[in-house]
């Protein structure tokens, strides 16, 4: 049945519009290779061919025509993955409706965003370009690769990555819709009902299509139900095609969504921010839900007041697959440092801490077979550091995406803008004020009752 519906459906998986992006060949020689899944290998080489890791070993022969990088004394780790960001997209929130499952950030990729380069300069090779948290059911998100330098948005899509969608609980959807417009949800009770209603309607929708598809060949009088891109997307969640990434803070609401998912048979669930995840870590582990958290953000609004910087450690120790994310164009530049904080707050081992920004976010995005560790057959996404990446003194030296060097500290051209305003003499001075709740980008001011400072 799914197949039949899909036949008339748009699939938002990339269309590989303009042919394949170039994939690179490169040999990284003699580094301290942090594989994540297979320990740390001293004085080891990593060979990438046609964008894939083909060999990891000592004293590899350089295939002719392959670029060599000397990583002696350097740390070589998998490219860092950010499971929650809003860089490289032009629209974050379609805040007009509590349910906007059909919108897709992948339709608004901005390859010109300078934040991509700045993320690369922090070793980050992939990120999850998410819809915001204005709506209980926000939009679908895109997993991107940081191919800064290409003008074509298609080149940034991680082809083959599973579809994901942003949900949101608590204050943000309550503020935008309940307080802002006087429509549900205004409470956490209301938020639950938004989900139950949406999924129930999606079930009815699926059934109607199933009926139509079953009889359309035999009954010439059968007419198709009204097509709804929104309900279809929700149906795709029910059938397991789309991973839910849910903006959440409080323990009660986290439990609520797990209950809803249980009732509707949904299994693929990652909680985002999830500041009080530590309180329900056993429940998260039992459900198989994962958690993508801040290293230490708290207290910027009431629902994050009872947080602890030990969140990631408690979750990890309780068997929850956990990642550290940025949700910020600033933090994404030093996720390796954010991960390091779990060693102060909870004594995670080096490998546990680095897993938070590599293999674990890869699992949450459903791409752990492709990225997140240095293994033969995986994508050639690599970050090279001077100093151990968890040290505060570490300096990213080179970042490679699909075998292509996208950042090299020795060849940093300073001005890396891709889009230059021909009528502006000097790029304007712009002091970025630290802003929390980047998930609320694009939401009109009338819905933001708080002002930081």
């Amino acid at each position: 049945m799914k197949k039949i519906i899909n036949s008339i459906l748009f699939t938002c998986v990339a269309l590989s519009l303009f042919g394949q992006l170039d994939k690179g060949d490169i040999l990284i020689k003699n580094g301290t290779v942090i594989t994540i899944t297979n320990g740390v290998l001293e004085e080891t080489d990593v060979l990438i061919q046609n964008g894939k890791i083909t060999r990891i070993g000592k004293n590899l022969r350089t295939p002719s025509g392959t670029k060599e990088v000397d990583a002696t004394g350097m740390h070589v780790m998998p490219g860092i993955i950010d499971a929650h960001s809003h860089i490289a997209i032009d629209a974050v929130n379609e805040a007009t409706n509590p349910v906007t499952a059909e919108v897709f950030t992948g339709d608004a990729i901005n390859p010109l965003d300078i934040s991509i380069y700045r993320a690369l300069a922090g070793g980050v090779t992939s990120s999850h370009a998410m819809h915001g948290s204005a709506n209980a059911i926000g939009g679908q998100c895109e997993t991107i690769k940081h191919h800064y330098g290409s003008y074509n948005p298609e080149d940034l899509r991680m082809v083959g990555a599973p579809r994901t969608i942003k949900f949101a609980l608590g204050e943000n959807p309550m503020r935008v819709h309940g307080e802002g417009r006087g429509i549900q949800p205004r409470t956490r009770m209301g938020v639950e009902q938004v989900f139950r209603k949406a999924f129930s309607e999606a079930k009815v929708y699926m059934k109607a299509w199933e009926k139509y598809n079953n009889e359309k060949n035999t009954n010439p009088k059968a007419s198709a139900p009204e097509y709804s891109y929104r309900l279809q997307t929700l149906a795709d969640i029910l059938t397991g095609d789309v991973i839910i990434h849910c903006h959440s803070y409080r323990a009660d609401e986290i439990l609520m969504l797990m209950n809803v998912c249980k009732d509707f048979g949904i299994k693929r669930l990652c909680f985002q921010h999830v500041n009080e995840g530590f309180k329900v870590a056993p429940e998260l582990a039992e459900f198989g839900a994962t958690a993508s958290v801040f290293a230490d953000w708290w207290a910027y609004k009431f629902e994050v007041y009872y947080s602890t910087a030990y969140n990631a450690s408690i979750l990890t120790r309780n068997g929850v697959v956990t990642s550290i994310n940025s949700d910020s164009g600033e933090l994404i530049r030093h996720l390796y440092h954010e991960a390091g904080k779990t060693q102060r707050y909870g004594d995670l081992s080096d490998n546990e801490a680095l897993s938070l920004i590599t293999i674990n976010p890869a699992k949450q995005l459903g791409v752990e077979d492709r990225i997140g560790s240095l293994e033969v057959g995986k994508d050639g996404d690599v970050a090279i550091f001077k100093g151990h990446p968890l040290s505060v003194y570490a300096i990213p030296q080179m970042t490679i995406v699909d075998g292509i060097v996208r950042f090299d500290i020795n060849m940093d051209p300073a001005d890396v803008r891709m889009d230059v305003n021909p009528e502006e003499d000097l790029p304007a001075f712009f002091l970025e004020v630290k802003e929390y709740d980047n998930c609320m980008q694009g939401v009109h001011h009338q819905h933001l009752f708080f002002h930081r400072h």
């Binding site: 379609e94 948005p153 009204e226 003499d425």
Partner: protein, 580 residues
């Protein structure tokens, strides 16, 4: 004293009831004949082809004959076109010409300028018309024959335009409009020429963002496919089948689905261009990408996929080159002295270089499209009419061939719009849309002398050099003058009465629209230069209006400045001697 509205308020008042002016045209002289013969002209019949010293005959709105030895009909008005150049009338590939500006601002573009967003009860599912989804909307309702933009574009040689309504995501249907006439319906040469779309959201209601606009596009397209299939089946045999619902929005998609009508997608910047291309690919849409400004990155792709485009005629200017030191207003006052020891000189130079490169990329876009083999015309959604010719020249200076430029103005849009048998070239039997210039059109000093729109003649003076001020000249200022100027797209006129008491100038000025008289102040005559000002008082705010004029015999010209509202060109003529 009577309170006057501010000039701005006045202009706002003027914008709306402009039909009042249309009425005054009743006593305009009608042409005696609609048959014309232009003789001894250089006729550029199509890009790259010219007949020298030929005659062209226009009759009943059509080109009836072209050649060196054609017979001139007896009823023809003969226009000596010796050494003039005749081209097919230009076609705007996509434009808002003839659509009043007030409506034009209802889009998202102007921050704060447009009207307030309409209030809806549920911004999550607003009615289609408020959400900017009116693909079924016909153009005629929005077209205003007296809109000044029609004359502005015609003056440049444009005789037809593929006009689309303003709006957001799906503003409505385009129509090919002849740029002359007083009846919107009759001006339309061809209807349903474009399914106009923009990646522009509605204001504070769904779809508000580009992601929702694209999602909505997908949904409507799929719904329309199903609706069309349902309708077909129902028509064949309605018995026992549920009735298809009437939905004009979906019905408007059918010609696109059936590839009978192209989507004209406005996509100026490079990101929009790629988004448009993605959508095109996804549904294999018949598509023209319009108002393209950063197309150089996709030139090869467009060529490979045979997707026609309409390049924007709007080009960025080199602000520094134009305004002198204007560029340095970055808060670095006293920059000059600091410059010597500026440790960031290299940085500034590099930034300047990148800016110049970006400018060059815009300027060379058309030439590069030509080289890449892309099919292109021009659209005029964003350009100001006064910049059109200079921008065309800039494109040519930067690599666009004149033939390709002419093709983009004539044959290509004609083909794109399916009217090649009517427009686009100078050939017997075609509609007499022509532009006649005193030098080749793309020469800097060329002047458009005649424009014909369906055989209707519009004549223009060669641009005369501006009157020179001369502080030693002696002129008589006293007398009664009429004056007129255009402010924000509307004509303002009135009477200026000047009295000269041995060099002491005084007088008054009226304004037809305001129906009042103001006393002129601080009048000063310096040679042939006259300056004065008036004050108008609007709601407690005094607005000073300054006039700077040059007088030559019984003519005057110059400028009128109304502070922040702008400076406008004024012309005047003496209509009576003063009563001493």
């Amino acid at each position: 004293m009577k309170k006057h509205p501010t000039l701005f308020g006045l202009i706002c008042l003027l914008v709306i009831p402009s039909f009042l002016w249309a009425q005054t045209n009743n006593d305009e002289l009608r042409p005696v004949t609609r048959t014309y013969a232009l003789t001894q002209a250089n006729i550029v019949t199509e890009p790259g082809k010219m007949i020298e010293g030929a005659t062209i005959v226009i009759k009943d709105g059509l080109i009836s004959a072209i050649g060196k030895n054609v017979k001139i009909p007896i009823d023809a008005q003969v226009l000596k076109a010796d050494s003039m150049y005749i081209y097919a009338g230009f076609i705007e590939g996509l434009s808002h010409t003839g659509i009043p500006k007030a409506e034009a601002q209802s889009g998202r573009g102007g921050r704060g300028g447009g009207p307030q967003a309409p209030q809806v009860k549920d911004p999550g599912s607003p009615p289609n018309d408020l959400a900017g989804i009116t693909p079924e909307k016909n153009l005629a309702a929005s077209l205003k024959p007296s809109d000044k933009s029609i004359a502005d574009m015609r003056k440049l040689g444009f005789t037809a335009a593929n006009v689309v309504p303003n709006g957001q995501m799906l503003p409505g249907q385009g129509a090919l409009v002849l740029l002359h006439g007083d009846n919107a319906d009759k001006m339309i040469l061809k209807d349903q020429t474009a399914f106009f779309s923009q990646l522009v959201g509605a204001r504070r209601m769904y779809p508000a963002t580009v992601i929702a606009v694209i999602a909505k596009w997908r949904e409507l397209y799929r719904q329309a496919e199903l609706a069309q299939a349902h309708e077909k089946a129902y028509k064949k045999s309605p018995g026992g089948m549920s009735r298809p619902s009437y939905d004009p929005v979906l019905q408007a998609f059918y010609p696109v689905i059936n590839k009978e009508q192209s989507v004209f997608m406005k996509a100026s910047d490079i990101k929009s261009a790629y988004r448009a291309l993605s959508l095109q690919k996804e549904f294999d849409l018949p598509m023209v990408i319009a108002e393209l400004k950063q197309g150089w990155h996709v030139a090869d792709e467009l060529s490979k996929r045979d997707i026609p485009v309409l390049l924007s005629m709007d080009l960025p200017e080199d602000k520094k080159g134009k305004g002198g030191k204007k560029g340095g207003k970055k808060g670095d006052a006293k920059k000059e002295e600091a410059k010597k020891e500026d440790p960031f000189k290299a940085e500034r130079e590099a930034l300047e270089k990148r800016k110049m490169k970006a400018l060059k990329e815009h300027w060379t876009q058309a030439g590069n499209m030509e080289k890449a083999g892309v099919i292109f015309g021009f659209s005029t959604l964003d350009v100001k009419s006064k910049d059109v010719k200079a921008n065309l020249r800039k494109m040519i200076e930067n690599g666009l061939s004149e033939d390709a430029a002419l093709a983009a103005l004539t044959t290509t849009p004609a083909k794109m719009l399916g009217v090649s048998d009517m427009l686009g070239t100078v050939a017997a039997g075609k509609i007499a849309n022509l532009v006649v210039t005193d030098q080749p059109y793309f020469e800097e000093k060329s002047n458009v002398r005649y424009v014909f729109v369906e055989g209707n003649k519009f004549e223009f003076e060669a641009k005369k050099p501006a009157k020179k001020s001369d502080h030693n000249a002696k002129v008589v200022v006293a007398g009664k003058w009429t004056y007129s100027f255009e402010a924000m797209g509307q004509n303002m006129d009135g009477i200026l009465e000047l009295v000269d008491n041995d060099g002491d100038i005084s007088g008054s000025i009226t304004n037809t629209a305001m129906g009042n008289k103001s006393t002129i102040e601080t009048a000063e005559l310096n040679g042939n230069e006259l300056s004065f000002s008036i004050k108008i008082d609007g709601g407690g705010q005094t607005v000073m209006i300054e006039y700077n004029l040059v007088i030559e015999g019984d003519n005057m010209e110059g400028t009128v400045s109304a502070g922040q509202f702008g400076t406008f060109d004024l012309e005047g003529e003496r209509i009576g001697t003063p009563n001493k």
